[in-house]
């Protein structure tokens, strides 16, 4: 992948984004499309109604090989990787010694390796961390591959025109497939709350595949702006905002990613902290927040209780185009985290009423 004048890296689809009229912005060291001419609202709604194509080639695709990479990886993550069947994927995270989250990512078990996708802003640190700490494993950064996400209810119909086998994949399955002329590793997964696929292809084939997908009547290009509003409605955490090195998986409500065996055995960084939190609870929790009225409450907004005391902070907030209302996520003191608890948000010096709510804000529509 190349560089722009300002030393931003570019993905293999950079020229295509510009041809499509995208507004390009710096993101995690890459020049990326934040939106196309139709705008974020239209892109967001189109993804929920039909299918959207996202360039996520800035993310770090990595192969882990070795004698027993699943067992080795468990030394760095609290998830159950050893029981993962070939062709399945699982969400987990690198933890630090304080139980905080270094990065969150998907792990795919394949025939001869583990295939993981790191967040763009974290990938260099993740790769160094893996190389230093995964005993007996080889870490190969797949810089020669692009990653495209095709998301939305029409995604399966579109992709099955290239290979009908994709219809038989259930959610969180992965397969190495020939999509017509494209050599792909395909997972049925995504970051929008919709059914969809993430498609890893060689850089040299990325633009050709993207142009074919965009030639299908259901598919429109979608930028990072709508990617953010889609994932927020789906209640999915954004690394560096809702979760980071100072938040634990338990505070973030990601307990479900840590199965019984790992809770009992430990053996990952910060296990003592996380086990203690599982036993005794946490003092703050990530929760959904619905501002009343129409004013969005953005990241960093202070959350107050009825006495005017600060009890939390919003970590992601904006307008949910499909919800047609402002929505947010944030950490609040545990006694205020039950759904329906009234809160006050300080937005530009004004106290706005809000309530906690369950996540997600929309009904997820993953394929069974």
């Amino acid at each position: 992948m190349g560089d722009t004048a300002e030393n931003l890296k570019v993905t293999p689809l950079n020229a295509l984004h510009k041809e499509l009229g995208a507004r390009m912005v710096p993101f995690a060291g890459y020049e990326m499309p934040v939106q196309y001419p139709t705008g974020i609202l239209t892109e967001h709604k189109h993804t929920r109604a039909a299918a959207g194509l996202f360039d996520v080639s800035h993310m770090g695709q990595v192969r882990i090989t070795g004698d027993d990479p699943a067992k080795a990886l468990e030394a760095l993550v609290p998830g159950d990787i050893q029981s993962l069947d070939v062709g399945k994927m699982r969400y987990t995270m690198f933890t630090n010694d304080q139980g905080g989250i270094r990065d969150d990512f998907m792990v795919n078990k394949r025939d001869r390796d583990l295939f993981v996708v790191f967040n763009a802003a974290c990938k260099d640190d993740d790769i160094a961390h893996a190389r230093a700490n995964l005993k007996g494993c080889e870490i190969e950064y797949l810089e020669d591959r692009a990653l495209l996400a095709l998301q939305g209810p029409a995604a399966v119909a579109v992709l099955s025109r290239l290979n009908p086998v994709v219809q038989a994949m259930s959610f969180s399955m992965g397969a190495t497939l020939a999509l017509d002329r494209f050599e792909a590793f395909v997972t049925r997964s995504g970051y929008t709350g919709e059914d969809g696929f993430e498609i890893s292809v060689p850089n040299a084939q990325a633009e050709d595949l993207a142009r074919w997908l965009l030639s299908q009547p259901e598919v429109k290009p979608i930028g990072l702006g709508a990617r953010d509003s889609l994932r927020l409605e789906a209640g999915l955490c954004l690394y560096g905002h809702d979760i980071d090195a100072t938040t634990t998986p338990i505070e973030a409500g990601l307990n479900w990613t840590i199965p019984k065996r790992r809770r009992e055995e430990g053996g990952f960084p910060g296990a003592a902290v996380i086990q203690e939190q599982l036993r005794n609870g946490v003092s703050r929790k990530l929760t959904g927040i619905r501002p009343e009225g129409r004013a969005p409450a953005r990241e960093g907004t202070e959350v107050l209780n009825d006495k005017g005391e600060k009890i939390g902070t919003i970590t992601s907030g904006g307008f949910g185009p499909s919800v047609d209302a402002p929505i947010a996520m944030g950490y609040v003191a545990t006694e205020y985290a039950a759904p329906g608890t009234p809160l006050t948000l300080m937005v530009r010096g004004k106290a706005l009423p809000a309530k906690t709510c369950k996540l997600p804000f929309i009904t997820k529509r993953y394929a069974k």
Binding site: Q35, A295, P296, R298, G318, F319, R348
Partner: protein, 123 residues
């Protein structure tokens, strides 16, 4: 009626004693889909350059500054009810406030259409 502009992309148009203020078409195109506007109550007085309203797109919140000092006499309920009107008609029906100016001479410091068009080319 001459429309004048600020470097922050507000426009102002004086008609008799009352000036109408909004954001430029360029500003709305940069903001993207407007989903909320926070407007001042009539009677609020502001200095030139002070925050007078807030406009929120899906992505971010942006302040709107008073091009000239004065007293707000009306806020546009139409954009409060339908924020997307700012995108559709930024320089006409999508105005933000009407103000009684304290010093009309402040208008002279602002850009006319030709100067604003030239300014946009430098961005």
């Amino acid at each position: 009626m001459t429309t004048r502009y600020t470097k922050d992309h507000e426009w102002i148009r004086l008609d008799g004693d009352v000036a109408t203020v909004g954001i430029s078409d360029y500003a709305q195109s940069q903001l993207g889909d407007v989903v909320f506007v926070d407007l001042p109550a009539p009677g609020k007085t502001v200095e030139a350059g002070a925050e007078i309203a807030v406009v929120e797109s899906v992505k971010a919140a942006s302040e709107v500054y008073a091009p000239c000092g004065g007293e707000v006499v009306e806020s546009n309920q139409a954009i409060a009810d339908d924020p997307a009107l700012v995108n559709r008609a930024a320089q006409t029906d999508g105005w933000f406030v009407k103000m009684k100016l304290s010093d009309k001479a402040e208008l002279d410091a602002l850009m006319d259409q030709a100067a604003y068009d030239a300014y946009l080319k430098t961005l």
